[in-house]
């Protein structure tokens, strides 16, 4: 299990960093082309949206590990610690089911757009929609990991260290 998530962490890390680099690069190319070249390539806007969607797809799961999703603890903070922990486990378990169903629904969406292509890049549309599948699937996996961690450590706070810069490459 640990090995699976270690590999997953590395893939998500590489995927999100690469997508962000490519996103910045493509938009800068668009600016450069407008300023210095006779014409702007027609595909840059679509490509930048593609890399953006995939950056989000790759980073959505690790964001659970980094506890980047904002919540409101003003109400639960008054509860006993044990009850807070049980509540956090139940909430995450509910979300595992919810995001799991969303991953399944995203798969249907990916299949539904088969045969369609994007306007400028002429890439199959399922390549774009697959980013939503990745996003929801990774959310389900990382939330399941969060439930397992809380059951194991008995603590809501995530003390685990994420992948350090450069470690995955």
């Amino acid at each position: 299990m640990k090995l699976l998530f270690r590999v997953l962490d590395q893939w998500m890390w590489i995927g999100s960093v690469l997508s962000m680099f490519l996103l910045v690069g493509v938009v800068l190319l668009q600016v450069f082309a407008r300023v210095a070249l006779p014409q702007v390539p027609a595909w840059t806007e679509e490509a930048s949206r593609f890399f953006f969607m995939w950056a989000v797809g790759f980073a959505a799961g690790p964001a659970v590990r980094e506890q980047a999703y904002v919540d409101v603890d003003s109400f639960t903070i008054h509860l006993p610690n044990k009850l807070q922990l049980v509540l956090a486990i139940v909430m995450d378990a509910v979300l595992v089911v919810f995001t799991g169903i969303m991953a399944y629904e995203s798969t249907k969406l990916v299949i539904a757009v088969e045969g369609q292509t994007s306007a400028a890049l002429i890439w199959p549309m399922w390549v774009f929609y697959a980013s939503i599948w990745l996003q929801t699937f990774m959310l389900a996996l990382y939330l399941a990991r969060s439930v397992a961690r809380m059951l194991h450590t008995g603590s809501i706070k995530n003390e685990e260290q994420g992948i350090k810069g450069g470690e995955a490459l």
């Binding site: 962000m20 680099f21 938009v27 600016v31 959505a60 904002v70 109400f75 909430m91 169903i101 249907k108």
Partner: protein
């Protein structure tokens, strides 16, 4: 059925489910109970983030992170201190000034509160300023972040309403400056009343030297704004040019950024972006349900039946949004409420740009109020002071924010003069 949507949403929030997932899960329950195909959820999530304009969100987050790690925060503070440190309450004024400059490179209040607060609050407390006052100045000054461009809430407001993001960004300049000067004035009066210390006046040579340290950060703001205002870049392009600029400055001018640091910064920016985009995606599903239930129409009719006077409508919206801002995250609130509230506003002849700035300003005030004021929490944890005492100390500053809000609400020129000048 809409009752179920709101009940589940509120229940999830109370039980500490993250706001993004509370929006998604409540929408899921509604859609499942209404026999609508569940595939509508990933479809709406996709369409919510599939926009070129929203691409400036990762750009501005990345540029802010790069500049911050490149050592800009200390330089900005040093410059502001050299400039106003000799005035009574100079550290508090430097705190406000630094937040104002920092707001020009970051688009969120939280990053301002963390970056400036971690340096300024301990420094202020060490020099004899009250903990509550130090925290209150930091928290209130950080709210300039989402008003002075670049601003992530403005980008979201533009995306959901179809308004020009460039116009919104430019329209935020004057209210942002008014907010900064207002907070600075209150900080000065309180400092003078409590006889907080002042530093020796810096020699002009030192002031000039510190200016060159902060110059590159100020130039970044000018490039972003100049590019957008001059029609050279779209906001998305400006954000990526800012990323390129921050890398060059970090490598070759400040020399504190190393190539090995870049992947980590890119990853952290991707994580922040993803947490926001999941929120935007699920909020888009939630907003779709509200539209399909004709909630905007019902709200329009209800609001207009109360009064057809734009002044009254603005007052009602202000009261509503102040309350919403106290309990809801800014971006989620914008995604859900902006399309609903804008319709009657347009019908009453209120300018949509002015209205959007007013909404953002309203929700931003909520960042410094309990129970969910993120900047309040940040400042309270850095200053090690209770939320209750900090809230009390924040009251005069919240008063300034409300005064600026009233100006924005009832004097259209405050927001519309600059865009009308720039975008002829």
């Amino acid at each position: 059925m809409v009752f179920v949507l709101f009940a589940v949403f509120l229940g999830c929030i109370i039980l500490r489910m993250p706001i993004a997932f509370s929006l998604g899960f409540s929408s899921f329950v509604y859609i499942a109970a209404s026999d609508i195909p569940l595939s509508i959820i990933p479809e709406r999530m996709f369409s919510g983030v599939d926009s070129f304009v929203i691409l400036c969100v990762p750009g501005f987050i990345l540029a802010g992170n790069l500049m911050n790690i490149g050592g800009i925060t200390e330089r900005i503070i040093k410059f502001c201190l050299a400039l106003v440190g000799h005035i009574r309450g100079g550290l508090a004024l430097a705190n406000v000034g630094a937040s104002m400059v920092f707001a020009g490179i970051s688009g969120t209040a939280v990053s301002d509160a963390v970056s400036i607060g971690t340096i300024m609050i301990p420094a202020m407390v060490k020099r004899g300023y009250g903990k509550e006052f130090s925290g209150a100045v930091t928290a209130s000054a950080s709210t300039m972040g989402p008003i002075i461009p670049p601003s992530l809430p403005m980008v979201i407001a533009g995306t959901v309403t179809g308004l020009s993001v460039s116009r919104l960004l430019v329209a935020g300049i004057i209210p942002g400056l008014l907010l900064g000067f207002g907070i600075g004035a209150v900080a000065f009066f309180i400092s003078a009343k409590r006889s907080y210390p002042r530093d020796e006046q810096m020699p002009i040579k030192e002031v000039v030297k510190s200016f060159f340290g902060a110059f590159w950060a100020i130039l970044m703001t000018l490039i972003i704004l100049g590019g957008i205002m001059g029609g050279i870049f779209t906001p998305t392009e400006a954000s990526m040019v800012a990323v390129f600029y921050a890398i060059i400055i970090g490598f070759f001018v400040y020399k504190e950024l190393k190539p090995s640091m870049l992947p980590k910064i890119f990853f952290e920016s991707a994580v922040t972006t993803a947490s926001l985009m999941v929120l935007v995606g699920f909020a888009n599903v939630f907003a779709w349900i509200l539209t399909s239930e004709e909630i905007p129409l019902m709200v329009t009719q209800a609001m207009l039946s109360l009064s057809r006077n734009p002044m009254v409508y603005i007052l009602l919206v202000n009261v509503l949004l102040i309350l919403v801002g106290m309990f809801m995250e800014t971006i989620a609130a914008l995604m859900i409420l902006m399309p609903i509230l804008l319709k009657p506003a347009i019908e009453l002849g209120i300018d949509p740009i002015q209205f959007a700035i007013m909404c953002v300003l309203n929700l931003v005030i909520g960042l410094t109020t309990p129970p969910v004021g993120v900047c309040l929490f940040v400042a309270s944890s850095i200053a090690k002071v209770s939320i209750g005492r900090l809230t009390w100390a924040l009251l005069p500053f919240i008063g300034v924010s409300i005064a600026v809000l009233l100006l924005v609400s009832y004097v259209p020129q405050v927001t519309l003069w600059l865009p009308s000048l720039v975008f002829k």
